[in-house]
């Protein structure tokens, strides 16, 4: 009954429903429009001006100049490349690892399954600042655990300056990002695998399918929507990698760990280029939107 179309309801009822609907929505809409939609619009609008961060600065409409400058800005291109590297490395590894862990733990005893879920989620809850602080110590040149363990096990001969060496810095960032990214996907995979239709699994087993076949032929198609969601959220998170960079390396050494998000922050607060920073924000948002769309398309065509 409640699903009937407005056309089938009396006019008075439609009006009543509309008024009630908007009254219920009002408190939420006020916050949504003021603190989400308005800044989004301002982001696009100011990206077409040469506005600065200072309050008194004038701002003139300069069309697409910020966007053109952007793609001639070597630092930005380097930041974009680093961001792409982070995304390309972290998204598949996060997905594969969390699927593997999820598949291992979802049919364990209840307490064991929750324990593992909690453990893999803990780095997310601990918070980026606390996590970063402790990793900075772990990576430390003289008194870091990593160098101690590595040199004692003979994995590398001399202490390595992990965060100070442009060969390793980005990899170190990606490792921390990885530990703080797998928590949510694991929770999602555990619940998705638990919801897989058991009759199909049993039918396949009766037909003599191996575990691997059951997984890829029966379970995998059913958890596809979850995989898709995980791909999208991990991509968004990796693109927005900021706190780690700001706290650990500030984009150094020699821009080896600059990411787009960090460069936006840098442009706005160190270079005071407000319009320019927003143009970067728009480009970043477009990249994410495009990538999410591609992932949707791919996943759809596969299933």
């Amino acid at each position: 009954m409640a699903k009937s179309k407005p056309g089938s309801m009396s006019r008075a009822l439609v009006r009543r429903e509309t008024i009630a609907g908007y009254l219920f929505l009002l408190p939420s809409l006020v916050f949504f429009l003021t603190f989400v939609v308005y800044p989004m619009v301002m982001c696009v609008v100011t990206s077409l001006t040469n506005a600065t961060m200072t309050a008194s600065g004038t701002s003139d409409f300069i069309g697409l100049k910020n966007y053109i400058d952007l793609f001639q800005d070597k630092t930005f291109l380097k930041a974009l490349l680093n961001t792409v590297i982070i995304v390309v490395v972290s998204v598949p590894t996060v997905c594969v690892f969390s699927l593997w862990v999820g598949a291992r733990i979802y049919n364990m005893k209840n307490w064991a399954c929750s324990a593992f879920r909690v453990i893999f989620y803990l780095p997310v809850v601990t918070g980026s600042v606390a996590v970063t602080v402790v990793w900075k110590w772990i990576y430390h040149y003289y008194n870091g655990v990593l160098n101690y363990v590595g040199t004692n096990l003979g994995l590398w001969e001399k202490n390595i300056n992990w965060l100070g060496d442009s060969k390793f810095a980005l990899g170190c960032i990606i490792l921390i990002l990885f530990t703080t990214s797998v928590g949510q996907p694991i929770v999602l995979y555990v619940s998705a695998l638990g919801n897989v239709d058991q009759t199909l699994v049993e039918a396949a087993q009766v037909d003599g399918a191996t575990d691997l076949q059951v997984f890829w032929q029966v379970k995998w198609p059913q958890i596809m929507p979850t995989t898709l969601y995980i791909l999208v959220i991990t991509t968004i998170n990796s693109f927005q990698c900021f706190a780690l960079i700001q706290l650990l390396t500030s984009g150094g050494p020699e821009h080896a760990t600059d990411t787009v998000m960090y460069y936006i922050y840098y442009s706005a607060f160190t270079l005071y280029k407000y319009g320019y920073a927003n143009a970067m924000g728009v480009v970043l948002a477009l990249c994410i939107a495009a990538l999410s769309a591609v992932q949707f398309k791919l996943a759809k065509s596969e299933s």
Binding site: A2, K3, P6, M9, A20, G21, Y22, L23, F24, L25, P27, S28, L29, F32, T34, F35, V36, P39, M40, C43, A55, V101, R104, F116, V118, I119, F120, L122, V125, T126, G127, S128, V129, A130, V133, V134, W135, K136, W137, H140, Y142, N143, T179, Q184, V187, L188, A192, P225, T226, Y229, V232, Q240, F242, A243, I264, A268, Y274, G281, A285, S292
Partner: protein, 310 residues
């Protein structure tokens, strides 16, 4: 033959479990290192041979942490108040003795998380119910706007948001962190998912009985979506606590710093004193971890509900 296959599969299972346990230990290690590091002496912290278990426990790090700065225990700023005072000054209440600033940061963080949690749950429950159960004009448009906004990167809007907050004279108040969290549409989306499960007949019956809209909401709808509200509450609480970027942009004065921000400031000033930094990190993370462990079930539910049925 058959037993041979079984035996290899037993070995395989044991190896796999071993690998997963090792992975779990690696994931736990940073937290362990924070908690033990907070109680280590400077000598142990700075030695190139790590002390896996502190030989000598000390509270020195916490003492230093609490010594650094001080602030009044409680400060409450009324949002938008400067628009109504004559000299456009903010209306602020102070209370309590002057205490170490770290306490203040902890209180600020708790306040932000609780306020954001209550406001988000209230507004989102109302809105989610309306979107799920009310048939009104413009509903489809609104819902697609919300979904689109959710897919956009949140951090991109922070810099325009900062300027807007400046315009509203809200920067450097805790509200500048709270309000955008409330505006973020994930909560509305999640609540809609839960409210969709309410059978239409019950609402119809309430309408025929002549119950007012608000009464229907409080007596019928809200009890039914309570698990969802619980999930959203814990989700918002943890995310606000850890939303470092937003706090970094909006808050600068010592009195309004959050716990994560306070540590990052200390990292700038006392960068090499890892014992002190671990004490700060422990203070920032232990409360939120306890909250997480206590409400873990709701949390898991929130994560999965927000995803799969989209």
């Amino acid at each position: 033959m058959n037993t041979g296959v079984k035996r290899t599969s037993v070995y395989r299972t044991i190896t796999l479990i071993l690998i997963i346990v090792i992975a779990a230990v690696i994931f736990l290690f940073p937290l362990y290192w924070i908690l033990t590091g907070a109680f280590k002496t400077p000598g142990a912290v700075n030695s190139s041979t790590p002390e896996w278990w502190p030989k000598e426990w000390t509270l020195r790090n916490f003492e230093t942490l609490f010594d650094k700065r001080s602030a009044p225990l409680w400060e409450f700023h009324i949002p938008l108040s400067e628009w109504f005072t004559e000299d456009h000054s903010q209306v602020v209440f102070f209370a309590g003795p002057v205490l170490p600033a770290a306490f203040r940061w902890l209180i600020n963080t708790v306040f932000m998380s609780v306020a954001a949690m209550i406001l988000t749950c209230g507004t989102a429950a109302l809105a989610g119910y309306a979107l799920a159960k009310k048939r009104f004009i413009g509903r489809a448009v609104l819902f697609s706007l919300i979904v689109c906004a959710m897919a956009l990167p949140k951090q991109v809007i922070l810099i325009p948001l900062l300027r807007e907050m400046d315009g509203l004279h809200l920067t450097n108040t805790l509200w500048s962190v709270i309000f955008p969290v409330v505006g973020w549409p994930f909560g509305v989306f999640l609540m809609k998912q839960f409210a969709e499960g309410i059978p239409g007949e019950i609402l119809e019956a309430a309408r025929i009985d002549g119950g007012g809209e608000l009464k229907t909401f409080t007596t019928i709808v809200f009890p039914m979506i309570k698990p969802g509200v619980g999930a959203l509450a814990i989700f918002t609480f943890i995310n606000t606590w850890n939303d470092y970027f937003m706090q970094l942009l909006m808050l600068t004065g010592t009195n309004v710093l959050s716990m994560p921000l306070g540590i990052s400031k200390m990292m700038g000033e006392f960068g090499q004193d890892y014992g002190l930094l671990m004490a700060g990190a422990a203070l920032a993370s232990v409360p939120i971890i306890i909250v997480f462990l206590a409400f873990q079930k709701y949390f898991t539910k929130g994560i999965t509900m927000g995803a799969v049925k989209g």
